[in-house]
């Protein structure tokens, strides 16, 4: 049973560029959350998708957008990249109801130069 898979594992982009990160949730999970983790810090909530809609959003600018597909997979898009967007981007899946644990992928390491 595959867990959460993310692609790519590493990515290097230039300031101003756009990036798309991809996530496939754990089998049986219908909810996908995205987190940003800076070095030495805890994950920060970006947004959550359920039933192909953004259900909740954290304190991130509109440059961060996402999508969930009918098969529950998800994409995170970041436009107009800034140096400060360099981080580990984590995707987590869970079952739709409140209060179920998150299952994380190993993340995409994004470096903006």
């Amino acid at each position: 049973d595959a867990g959460v898979t993310q692609s790519p594992t590493h990515l290097i982009k230039t300031r101003g560029q756009q990036v798309t990160l991809r996530c496939s949730p754990k089998s049986g999970h219908d909810t996908v959350s995205w987190y940003q983790q800076a070095l030495g810090q805890g994950p920060q909530f970006i947004f959550q998708y359920y039933e192909e809609e953004e259900r909740q959003r954290g304190n991130f600018p509109d440059r961060f957008s996402g999508h969930q597909f009918p098969n529950y997979s998800s994409e995170l898009n970041v436009n107009a990249l800034l140096l400060g967007d360099s981080a580990l981007y984590l995707c987590a899946s869970s079952v739709g109801q409140y209060n179920s644990p998150l299952h994380f992928g190993n993340g995409t390491r994004l470096t903006v130069t």
Partner: protein, 113 residues
């Protein structure tokens, strides 16, 4: 405000000893708490969770204690092993905050052989 904090950023223990990692949370409305383990280069891994109607829950070699009176959470690891070396995060859900899980900054556990 929203915050899940930790008392100690690092903890060093001898192999075979018990480890205790502490966490303070600020929102008394939080009703679900989770501990995650993150090894280098990997995403956070679910360890154990506890709901607010409980004050103790045990897993394999791990125990989580919840003290709602002082808003304190702890993770106890019995007979700590080198493979336990990682960063540990406590996280919380609260119904007033919606569906997101809020993470603390983490505690790094070093296990000395």
């Amino acid at each position: 405000g929203e915050s899940v904090g930790l008392h100690l950023p690092t903890l060093s223990v001898q192999e075979g000893d018990n480890s205790i990692i502490n966490c303070a949370y600020s929102n008394s409305a939080s009703d679900y708490f989770i501990w995650y383990k993150q090894e280098s280069g990997k995403g956070p891994q679910f360890i154990i969770d506890i709901r607010s109607n409980m004050d103790k829950r045990q897993g394999q070699r791990v125990t989580v204690l919840l003290n709602k009176t002082v808003k304190h959470l702890s993770l106890q690891i019995a007979a700590t092993q080198p493979g336990d070396s990682a960063v540990y995060f406590c996280a919380e859900n609260n119904p007033t905050g919606g569906f997101k899980t809020i993470f603390g900054a983490g505690t790094r556990l070093f296990v000395k052989a």
